[in-house]
């Protein structure tokens, strides 16, 4: 097995006049969790579909598990498990039947599927639901079944398109925990998400996308340190312009997003002293996160 699971070089794709993926290059090592992070419409899903050979790039080179994609994508897909953005389980089938039918798509015999079903049900915490119709399952259970289904062929690589979108916090944490377990077992994960927290918790490395372009790449912690590297004060209420003038001396930079003022404070104590006397403000001091990196890089409503 090659140590590079996915390699993209100069990949471009446009739909009509709209450039969706703009000269993207990245490489995912075996056993790594690599995140594609960006807002809706950044091109994340298109990239995931390209990796699976479902969208052909206009130009550029792609290799997935040693196979040239899209030409030999089918061979790569034999060793890939996919968790799509929208559940596409068989609602009228039972949990067990869903796994059986999906196993057949990988040319597995009924016996081969039956041999792996107990472990998959346990993994998805659906042991008691094996013979329940999928239509009767909760949203979180359906997602976990989708994840179990993606593992039926014992894939080397998992491609997950927004795996926790639409789940409640409990369901989300349960999925994250399962994914960490898979990483511990040596699986490679390509994950698209617009949840900064998800990316920060799971990804070894990530690529921040905007409008189909890579605007940053690296380890989450390093990106945060490089781009922000100081405490953040969130300020709600008051006039953003007046407030930013007040705290500018103590800030590396200041950003306004919606009604919130983000102060990247070199000297948070002094900034807070300036603000505390003022009525009608709510203040929150916290360590920096990927959200700040994204805000910084996309430069929405930058203030200086």
């Amino acid at each position: 097995m090659s140590t590079v699971a996915i390699d993209l070089t100069g990949v471009r794709k446009s739909f009509g006049d709209k450039i969706v993926v703009d000269g993207l290059s990245f490489s995912v090592a075996s056993g790594e969790c690599f995140g594609l992070l960006g807002p809706n419409g950044a091109g994340k899903s298109t990239i995931a579909r390209m990796v699976l050979g479902m969208v052909a790039p206009d130009s550029g080179k792609m290799t997935v598990l040693g196979e040239t994609v899209p030409a030999r994508a089918r061979l790569a897909r034999m060793r890939i498990g996919v968790v799509p953005q929208f559940d596409n389980l068989e609602l009228e089938f039972t949990v067990r039947e869903n796994l059986l039918v999906f196993g057949r798509y990988f040319n597995m015999s009924a016996r081969e599927v039956q041999a792996v079903v107990p472990a998959l049900l346990e993994f998805a915490r659906l042991e008691s639901k094996a013979d329940a119709r999928v239509a009767e399952l909760s949203g979180g259970m359906k997602r976990r079944l989708t994840l179990a289904r993606a593992l039926i062929n014992d894939p080397h690589l998992l491609v997950m398109d927004e795996p926790t979108t639409g789940l409640d916090p409990h369901g989300r944490h349960l999925i994250w925990e399962r994914l960490r377990l898979l990483l511990a077992r040596g699986k490679t994960i390509l994950l698209t998400t617009h949840f900064m927290e998800e990316a920060e918790r799971l990804c070894d490395r990530l690529c921040v996308l905007e409008a189909g372009r890579k605007i940053a790449e690296g380890k989450p912690r390093e990106l945060i340190d490089e781009q922000i590297g100081c405490q953040v004060i969130e300020i709600y209420g008051g006039d953003p312009h007046e407030l930013s003038a007040l705290i500018r001396p103590y800030a590396r930079h200041i950003e306004v997003s919606g009604e919130t003022l983000f102060c990247y404070a070199t000297d948070p104590e002094q900034a807070l002293v300036q603000l505390r006397g003022r009525a009608g403000l709510r203040l929150l001091q916290r360590p920096p996160n990927l959200e700040d990196v994204f805000l910084r890089l996309t430069g929405r409503e930058m203030e200086r």
Partner: protein, 262 residues
């Protein structure tokens, strides 16, 4: 680009079976309702038209009208069951249910899926067509021995109309468009192709058109067999049906690729 189309074709000779088995499992859960629903319409036609009109019409081509009609109803029911299975059920699996999307994430190709769907629609055509042939044989309107010969002909007929309907669903934005195919193609074919009255009753221009339509070839193979008469031009009929099955099959894969793989 050509490489992309090649990758969408069936990967091997057996991948489609998994798709057929998925549809079979889904059908098994509703089999009774499905069989009754699929047989009610052709049976009504056979007895309603056959006995009712038969009184007025008398004998057609030297046989009773209902015996003449039986072959037409077998061919027509194969056509409609394959058409409707594809237009409604397969379209739902491709579109709203996202079943195809899930399958495309496995090692199956688009061609494997389409082939599995065609084989399934042809299976449903065989069920419907054979059931009617058995009823006709039981009532003495058809030769029992002909049924074994009919099965492959009904299966090809099913493939043909499933394949044609695949092109329709590859192009149709929604269910609303199917009615055009149904009213402008399927229904006229019943009357042009000799299913309910002999083609030689038509003006000669229409007879020429009928000779090009797939249902006419099915009827020309099925009816003489059921009546125990010699069948002419078997090779020509089979060849024409194979063309109608194979060309739309490849066309639909190319169209689906444009629709789904982007």
């Amino acid at each position: 680009m050509r490489e992309g189309y090649a990758a969408a074709m069936p990967a091997n000779a057996y991948n489609w079976v998994a798709v057929w088995r998925r549809n079979f499992l889904a059908w098994r859960k509703v089999a009774l309702a499905s069989v009754l629903g699929n047989l009610a319409d052709p049976m009504t036609n056979l007895f309603g038209l056959g006995l009712g009109l038969g009184i007025i019409v008398g004998r057609v081509d030297g046989t009773s009208y209902i015996a003449f009609l039986a072959g037409g109803v077998v061919a027509t029911s194969a056509m409609t069951s394959a058409t409707f299975e594809t237009m409604y059920a397969a379209f739902a699996r491709m579109h709203a249910q996202r079943t195809w999307e899930a399958i495309l994430c496995t090692q199956l190709t688009l061609g494997d899926i389409v082939l599995g769907e065609l084989a399934w629609a042809a299976t449903k055509a065989v069920l419907a067509g054979t059931a009617i042939a058995i009823v006709a044989a039981t009532l003495g309107y058809a030769a029992w021995a002909s049924i074994l010969y009919l099965i492959p002909v009904i299966a090809i007929t099913g493939f043909v109309f499933a394949s044609l309907a695949m092109v329709v669903i590859a192009l149709a934005p929604s269910y609303d468009y199917f009615v055009f195919y149904q009213t402008l193609v399927i229904t006229p074919m019943v009357f042009l192709c000799g299913a309910v009255f002999p083609v030689n009753q038509l003006p000669s221009a229409f007879q020429h058109v009928a000779g090009l339509l797939p249902l006419a070839h099915s009827v020309d193979l099925i009816r003489p067999a059921m009546l125990g008469l010699p069948t002419g031009g078997i090779g020509l009929h089979i060849g024409a049906l194979c063309m109608y099955a194979v060309l739309p099959f490849f066309l639909s894969i190319a169209l689906f690729r444009r629709r789904l793989m982007r």
